[in-house]
Subunit: 149 residues, 2 copies
Amino acid sequence: MADAGEAPELDELVEQLRATGARVTSARRLVLRELLASGDEHPTAEELAQRIQRTDPEVHVSTVYRTLESVEQAGLVVRAGLGDGPTTYHLAHDRHHHARCDGCGAVIHLDDRAFATVVRRLERDHGFLAAPRHLTVQGRCRGCRATSG
Amino acid sequence: MADAGEAPELDELVEQLRATGARVTSARRLVLRELLASGDEHPTAEELAQRIQRTDPEVHVSTVYRTLESVEQAGLVVRAGLGDGPTTYHLAHDRHHHARCDGCGAVIHLDDRAFATVVRRLERDHGFLAAPRHLTVQGRCRGCRATSG
DNA sequence: CTTGATGCAAATGGTTTGCATGTTT
DNA sequence: AAACATGCAAACCATTTGCATCAAG
């Protein structure tokens, strides 16, 4: 099972992309580079495009969208578009989930392990192979439980 | 803790809505009635509008959207973003989660209980009181595991 | 040289909004 | 009467697509 290991090199990602049969163009390289540079930010397609355009103004947003689709299918990138606002993206090696406080917005990171029970249940009861990618659990953090009703 | 109990009566819902200060109009009553009638379907705003229009053709989609916003804020309705496609809605008393197949889009219902481990962990490790509202776990259903890679 | 990728512009689709009018409280 | 909700059309925004051109394999 793919896990949250070290950050990969650009060349690694490029190679994995090529392995799926997709062609490696300069635009695609730039998208991957920008995703690497984004760390644990979760940029939108538009944001990626703008940053990339500082290097190559020719790269169009639609290309970024198409590239994101390819790299997502290659399993390199995860779509974290939840809640409101546009979809955000991050590299797949950085797999994590969130618990977010309804009160103050504080975010706690959760690893896959927390969802083991759910995964097992789905397998046992439905033959469903769960691969949770990006879940956000709502609730109230310690501080907000004390403070407000 | 609010839980998935009996289906409420229309009048109950109406009363709860009124209690938040919102005005109760015939359109809003129709939205709630339609949500009740939808059982565990998850209608989109558009679908709700169409069904409502069989009773009152004057009711406009934008009204349905505005109503959904009000009833969501009143805590009567939960927004269920199932990945792609338009947002779907269901009554809050019917709390559950989903597993959705990446391949064919099939949806499996999961009850709160499946997430007990996550909830316990968050409480123990972070004093975080989780109240998951609507999570969608991705994966592959039995059929799609067999069929495709 | 073949196939897939790109730029651009235009289309799409879900959702939101401005405004004049109608309805609830 | 005052505040809020509605219908409608138009705006909006993220994303997708058709097509001619270009570059990677």
